[in-house]
């Protein structure tokens, strides 16, 4: 595949009078990791929800492997099957065990044989060190463990692209590391990732591209060294200095 896996073109999204996205352009190539940064309310989450078709865009296009998935004639369920989403609040299914959370979509949605999916899920859980929790229910796990399971759940459908929506923002600082370690490993294996994040240090290490969202547009994007180290835009500098003041860089 030569073109970008995920191509966001001029996406606009408003909630009532509140225009959150005013024309976002973002191309994500195969095996690329893109970090979305920006203040709270800058539209990072909205952009990811639009890309995963959990929200309908008000204008613009989202292309997945060159196919316009914002076309209303397309089957949105089919498109979502090719993406993995991890949410800030984990959103594991509380009535299902860890293993069932992971195997649900591959068996029910993709119709793959249960035994095969189970083995694969156990392999994934082993890799994140949670194999012995497979039979437990999510509320018996710590936040960090739940979020690692959520990542595995999203990976189990073998998505083309993984969308991570501030996945460490609800975690205790001491648990952030274990979740980021999983993301780092997934990225190293070549998964295409778009992540909204407040972890600038992590973005600097893992991302190929950092995009700064402000006022509903991508104000500045480029390699992390440039955007985080030597930003062109005044707004970016202002945002980064506030982040540094808060001790997050």
């Amino acid at each position: 595949m030569s073109g970008p896996v995920l191509d966001i073109r001029g996406v606009v999204k408003a909630f009532g009078d509140n225009v959150v996205l005013r024309g976002i352009d973002l191309a994500v190539g195969e095996h690329q990791v893109v970090a979305l940064i920006g203040g709270s309310g800058s539209g990072k989450s909205t952009l990811l929800r639009c890309a995963s078709l959990l929200e309908t865009v008000d204008d613009g296009q989202v292309l997945l492997d060159g196919e316009d998935v914002t076309d209303p004639r397309i089957d949105a369920d089919q498109v979502r099957r090719r993406m993995g989403v991890v949410f800030q609040a984990y959103n594991l299914f509380p009535h299902l065990s860890v293993l069932d959370n992971v195997t649900l979509a591959p068996t029910v949605v993709h119709g793959r044989p249960r035994a095969e999916v189970r083995d694969e899920a156990m392999t994934l859980l082993t890799r994140i060190g949670l194999a012995e929790k497979a039979g437990e229910y999510p509320d018996r796990l710590s936040g960090g463990q739940q979020q690692r399971v959520a990542i595995v759940r999203a990976l189990a459908v073998r998505p083309r692209v993984l969308l991570l929506d501030e996945i460490t923002s609800a975690l205790d600082p001491e648990l952030v590391g274990e979740v980021l370690a999983v993301v780092r490993e997934v990225a190293a294996q070549g998964m295409t990732i778009v992540m909204a994040t407040h972890e600038m240090g992590f973005a600097r290490q893992v991302a190929d591209t950092v995009a700064f969202l402000d006022g509903g547009v991508v104000l500045e994007s480029g390699p992390p060294q440039q955007v985080l180290g030597d930003p062109v835009e005044a707004r970016t500098r202002q945002f980064l200095s506030r982040v540094i003041d808060a001790g997050r860089l």
Binding site: L54, R80, F93, H95, R153
Partner: protein, 287 residues
């Protein structure tokens, strides 16, 4: 406290606190016992000293009449139980279907949605006894071929219509109580609307509404006695006939007590389930 083995020896302060709590507990148990006893004695004296008591005792609480009427009433109660089981099952089916219909989206399904809403509005507002009369006497009057005329079938139908509307609302409340993020997670995994409902939303909703459903079930248990107005030979109707024959009201008391006996197990199950739900929620919030 299952990690009690690891606890250190309680201090003298803690021991004195525990002793004090124990003495308080003993005192309140004692007060409770005494006041209950006092109330029972006063109630007994007031009732038995009432001028009409001897007559009430023979017309309402006659052991011999109770014993003689029991087999007849029990036979009627068997009919009530049949209505209860069949009706209860159908109520769940109707309630679930109607509540799911009300969650459907899209303009093409608007007629279904409106129909479901109208059904709920109509039958939740109408007194059960009116529905029983309308269904029980109206349907047979149509004279349609194959229209059932048995009070058992028509009575069950009327009860299902009314309780289905109630239970549909209980189910809907349960469905709406599942946080939207659960739906978002399910849809993002590629599950369609039906799969999301069946695998993710409904199991969680059912857990939430089980105590409320059991409460409605208990209400249903006594309302099945109302099919007697259609002439079905159920417990209430048979008691009525016995009373008419002897002018002794004891059969009513017997019937009432039998319904209470029927309701007690369900009430205890409902209590246990709500207690379990509460415990689960508390452990969730602690984690």
């Amino acid at each position: 406290m299952d990690q009690g083995a690891g606890l250190p020896q309680p201090s003298a302060l803690e021991l004195s606190r525990r002793a004090w709590r124990r003495s308080r507990a003993r005192r309140s148990t004692l007060i409770g016992l005494l006041s209950t006893l006092l109330f029972a004695v006063v109630a007994y004296l007031v009732v038995t000293n009432a001028p009409g008591w001897p007559r009430v005792q023979t017309t309402f609480f006659s052991p011999s009449v109770a014993w003689e009427s029991l087999p007849e009433i029990l036979e009627g109660l068997w009919l009530n139980l049949q209505v209860l089981v069949l009706g209860g099952f159908l109520v769940l089916v109707v309630g679930l279907l109607v509540s799911l219909t009300r969650t459907l989206r899209g303009p093409a399904l608007a007629p279904l949605r409106i129909l479901a809403t109208a059904y709920v509005d109509l039958f939740r507002g109408m007194p059960l006894i009116i529905v029983l009369y309308l269904v029980g006497f109206g349907f047979p009057a149509l004279g349609l071929q194959g229209m059932p005329t048995s009070p058992f079938v028509l009575g069950t139908l009327a009860i299902v219509l009314v309780y289905g509307a109630y239970v549909a609302e209980v189910f809907r409340a349960g469905i709406e109580s599942v946080h939207p993020s659960q739906r978002a997670a399910a849809r993002s995994l590629g599950l369609d609307h039906r799969q999301t409902m069946r695998i993710v939303v409904l199991p969680q909703a059912l857990r939430t509404v089980t105590p409320a459903l059991l409460n409605d079930f208990i209400a249903l248990q006594k309302d099945v006695g109302l099919i007697s107005v259609l002439g079905a030979l159920d417990a209430v109707r048979r008691a009525q006939i016995l009373v008419g024959q002897s002018f002794n009201f004891t059969p009513y008391v017997v019937t009432g007590l039998l319904f209470v006996l029927l309701a007690i197990p369900s009430a205890r199950v409902a209590d246990a389930l709500s207690a379990r739900a509460r415990r689960r929620q508390q452990s969730g919030s602690l984690l």
